[in-house]
Symmetry: C2
Amino acid sequence: MPTHEHMLATANSYIDGFAQHNVAAIIELFADNATVEDPVGSTQVTGQAAIRNFYEHAMSMRLTLTLEGPVRIVADYAAFPFSIHLTTSNGKRRIDAIDIFRFNKDGKIIEMRAFWGPQNNHQIK
Amino acid sequence: MPTHEHMLATANSYIDGFAQHNVAAIIELFADNATVEDPVGSTQVTGQAAIRNFYEHAMSMRLTLTLEGPVRIVADYAAFPFSIHLTTSNGKRRIDAIDIFRFNKDGKIIEMRAFWGPQNNHQIK
């Protein structure tokens, strides 16, 4: 089981990776055979190559992620609330999300699920 | 699939049920064969009778629950960050948690998982 400190550091590295537009730093947090389901209910993205594509696309949207409360850590999971800010051709938007990371014994994210739906995606000033 | 509005109302009823010390109102939100895993990693509590015992015990601790951000709703899930305040013989404590509710097609909670660990449980003034 990875340590509390390791899982907390991983969540923070994930947020920081977006701030620094550093896809490589984010991909490194994931296991080779990890799955990403973002949002929950959508088709899972599986494996590092597909996950890299997913995050390269996300980065191209110039998302800003802000942690909106403490990272909850228990068993082999980290869960955290955050907001995503982005600018589209129709203006600025804010999405409120919760991510759940499950870790493998090597301390890599083996499963990521992002909880946010249409009503969590708001136009803002 | 239950509606967004129904899942949001259920999350709010759950928080309100604690404020009103109304175990019956909370139990009614769950399916007969629901599971509760609180915290994640602990033994699942299964079925309405066991879930009732679980919440009666929680109520006896005079917990106060406060929503700490918007309820995230997607697919058949509601996810929300909240804090729990309680008073023990050793003083006041705050626990930061995230609950995930999964709903069945009848709009009842079929699975509840609570993400909080020892480091999310703080002594406060």
